[in-house]
Symmetry: C2
Subunit: 578 residues, 2 copies
């Protein structure tokens, strides 16, 4: 920093593709601080260093920062300054802040630059001395890409490109740059293994009427993939060539980007000579979110397999508890993984399983470690949030199950969560409705009890792609994207009582056309996930006839669709518990 006359540097958790999971190559913040949480920012000045992270990670960060000389700043507490304010207070006018534009979303970097320039601080966006300092820095992931056949994708890469170009033109632009790995995987119908839980390949893409270029390391390309891409009319270039290509775009070209999904380095090269058209929802992401009939058929199939795995696991759990065999949170994780891996087209888990017994269930992002691993006892409730990647679909399901005696209060709380889940599942709404309008349907009963859950009610889910995708959501926050037929969105209200237990019930919903009347088009949800809800936790006196009707219909559907795939004993167990 002294050599480069940088007075403070900021190291975020993000990578050049602004994804949810960061490959080791870009875990700079973890390398420099030892802190392994998913969210956090390190700031270093001449004499001080600090890590900013949120309440999920206060304990872990304290532990991991011991003896590092890095101070912990607890984000969200009233006394904690924003890291940018802290930098402004530590530096003097004219000083320089260094960031690595390569790993910052353009929108983030732009607002940092604006903030610091208001404080008379300079910003260098190419400060990245890590390569020479970081011994054994992991390479960029170089796993082979593979083609996802049209029997799973339902639409050729060539056709998708055409649709994207049409929509880019509608946005008054000629070209678009993509850096989000799931968008690229969707567009080219390729998948990979470069990012944990996300079946994607590290790559960039540029789409225009003239040509569509996939920037990807040559070692990822098998002959099959190369031939396929050529067939689809895709030009392939080396991953490293993206910057040069952007430089060569004719001056004044109108280029569409989503500034939250492209890194600042590419953005700044682009904005030097092109007209940047910014969008908050890239048309490729809108197209990706509307599943076609092949994809929907695939996810229905994946749901059956996932339901079978869940039922087999639930039977094991019940047996273990009945027989006083020890079963731990990590055992739960492993059993689920094994049962899922036996299913056709299994590729891997879609995120890290959360198996939280009792108080662990109240930690929203809990994942058992060998140190925290608790035995599941026949007393209380167990929250299990898990999912898989199959070639024909991505699953994400949460069930909260009774492991023995439960109090009336637990039943009451479980039933409030269930009522919210059912009311959202039963919603009918006019075309144009956004998630924020429906969110309260899932929270209303908790709110009446003075309770709430502080995460979203629903996120988009990909097809053999990221388990969290946009652009739609169902949240307390405003998101202007309407829920459209073909979108898959989770329905996951919950309740977390710190130190006691956590409850969450999650199914995936498909938005479908319900009817057309004089008042326009109305949409509804079809629940895709197939797995029983634990009826031992329900206080039926709190359910309305409509809600009991939904539950009975749902359980009938679960039985009808899973029984043919289960053994006689398993099917009998399922019938018994419903």
């Amino acid at each position: 920093m002294q050599q480069e006359q940088v007075h403070a540097c900021v190291i975020p958790s993000t990578d050049p593709h602004i994804g949810e999971y960061t490959p080791g190559r870009w875990k700079t913040r973890e390398w420099i601080s030892g802190f392994t949480g998913s969210a956090g920012t390190v700031v270093i000045t001449k004499d001080k260093a600090g890590l900013w992270t949120d309440s999920r990670y206060f304990l872990q960060a304290e532990e991991q920062l011991k003896d590092t000389g890095i101070d912990l700043y607890k984000d969200g507490l009233p006394e904690t300054p924003a890291f940018s304010d802290w930098i402004a207070s530590e530096l003097s006018a004219g000083d320089c802040v260094g960031i690595e534009g390569d790993v910052y979303a353009a929108s983030e970097a732009k607002s940092l630059i604006e903030y610091f320039s208001g404080k008379n601080l300079n910003v260098r966006t190419d400060f990245a001395p890590y390569d020479s300092l970081w011994e054994n820095r992991p390479a960029i992931p170089a796993n082979p890409a593979f083609v996802l056949p049209e029997r799973f994708t339902g639409k050729s890469c060539r056709d998708k490109i055409k649709e994207v170009i049409t929509d880019v033109n509608k946005n008054q632009a000629d070209i678009t740059i993509l850096a989000a790995l799931d968008t690229i995987a969707w567009l080219f119908n390729i998948r990979g293994n470069d990012v944990k839980y996300n079946p994607v390949c590290v790559s960039y893409a540029i789409v225009s009427e003239k040509e569509t270029v996939l920037f990807i390391a040559p070692e990822k390309l098998t002959q099959e993939v190369s031939d396929y891409l050529q067939q689809e009319g895709v030009v392939v270039a080396d991953y490293e060539k993206i910057a040069g290509y952007i430089c060569s775009i004719p001056s004044g070209t109108k280029v569409l980007i989503n500034p939250a999904k492209i890194n600042y380095r590419l953005y700044s090269i682009l904005s030097e000579h092109c007209t940047v058209k910014e969008t908050t929802v890239h048309p490729a992401d809108s197209l990706k979110s509307i599943k076609n009939t092949t994809e929907i058929a695939g996810i229905r199939n994946a749901m059956q397999k996932d339901g079978v795995a869940m039922v087999k696991f639930l039977i094991d759990l019940e047996k273990a508890l009945k027989n006083n065999e020890t079963i731990t949170e990590l055992d739960v994780e492993e059993k689920l993984r094994v049962y899922r891996s036996e299913q056709e087209f299994y590729f891997g888990e879609s995120f890290e399983t959360i198996a939280g017994y009792a108080a662990h269930g109240a930690i929203v992002h809990y994942a058992a470690t060998p140190e925290s691993n608790a035995a599941v006892l026949p007393d209380g409730i167990l929250l299990i949030d898990s999912g898989a990647q199959y070639f024909d679909g991505t699953t994400d399901i949460t069930r909260t199950v009774s492991t023995g005696q439960v109090s009336e209060t637990i039943k009451q709380n479980f039933t409030y969560v269930l009522k919210g889940h059912i009311q959202l599942a039963l919603a009918v709404f006019p075309a144009g409705t956004v998630g924020m309008q429906l969110d309260a349907l899932a929270r209303q009963f908790l709110w009446k009890a003075g309770q709430n859950f502080l995460h979203g009610t629903g996120h988009g889910v990909g097809c053999f792609l990221n388990v969290h995708e946009g652009p739609q959501s169902i949240r307390m926050n405003y998101n202007p994207v309407p829920l459209e037929p073909g979108m898959i969105t989770s329905n996951e209200p919950g309740l977390y009582l710190a130190g006691e237990y956590g409850i969450r019930i999650e199914n995936l919903l498909l938005t479908v056309k319900a009817r057309t009347t004089d008042f326009g088009d109305f949409y509804a949800f079809e629940t895709l996930t197939l797995c029983p809800v634990d009826t031992r936790l329900i206080d039926y006196s709190l359910l309305s006839p409509e809600e009991i009707g939904w539950l009975n219909d749902y359980h009938q559907k679960v039985y009808d669709q899973l029984a043919p795939l289960l053994s006689k004993e398993e099917a009998a167990w399922l019938k018994e518990i419903l």
Copy 2:
């Protein structure tokens, strides 16, 4: 236009104070076109003239524009160009569009200017040749102002000014300019009679730590009002002096404005030499929206009086129908006005009464005229939306009543509307919740039936002020303003079947603190309006036990609060129908 080299001129419906009702002085659009609807824009070019208005006014506009040479452009139809697009297509590059900046909201004018400059058209914002052309143009209203005593307002003008200054400073500004007449009336605790239905005086105000100036025509000021204003530390200046005063604000001063609530003329004078800080919600409007305990006590009182008037009217209506006496929509209007005017502190109606029998009820903004006036027959339903201004509060109530035989479908539809009304009334929600989050509670049952209503569910209501005020709302559209304790908001779901009938049930809600738990503060609504819901229209089989409970409790409260103010016979009637 030729003299001034203006090639097109635009005449909107708004006035210098951007209010809902325009005093005659500024009804330029009506004067030039003969069209009397509340919304519409006239555009004039050398050879053509057009009026743009929305579907509410298609029939009326067609009628009123006959033989004027002004063409009707039906806003909202796919084939209708926006008037700005139409101008751009009619004019040539370099031509000039004239608007009167005085009657345009700054935000509107700015976007028009931006649009036209993109089309290489110039805009003159001082084009207003109407004074010399308009014979007998009405003068600016010059009715006397009066002081609303602290027994009604609950807070002195001096204290309100202090609070506004504090909040203006929080917005990094030193001064603020107010042009909205209700905001000014609230701030100074004065009222007037310059605008139909709105008890306000035509005026401007500038508030700063140095001085607070009320710009008002001297003839409006009685000695009492002058003395009062002096006492409160308010400087009074002539209405016409506002522009000069703005010019004299020291250069570079930071001035807070809401660009949607200040006219473009003042904005452009201001922005020449000051730093304009824009806000979408002016702090004075936020303060105004949170009613204090005196105001809440007042509105409770007003609600009792309004309920008494409504009950007396409902008895009359029932009698007339029973005795086969003719009662028309205009009779309904008149009876309500008379019964209200007998109440203490009555000042006038708070808006034009809507009394719509049968198909007239389906016209959302219907107001009976001598031509349309229908007799109410003992067959079907009558929708009555009305309200009053009392010194102690503003009311706004809609009831839909059976006038005789009604079909099962009408009952079903009425019950869907009622269920939505009740679910919103019963809502409990965390601090920070905005109207869009709750809106679906009122629509969910209609949506399930493939129905909807295309107006908002709730608007803010003033205290002896405008019946429509911001900043909060409960709508399908996003409005970031949370519902805060002390706010008064309407709850008015409806259903309109063109050519058949309209249903709406409207009460006013007070947001109140419900409880504080580990999950934070929770708010709820208290229904303020006191008037029975027509139980003859309810299909009880569709109501949940919770909804029946709400209705019974509500009717018990209505009876308890109104009976002491009714005659024995009236009270007996009320008891009978509940």
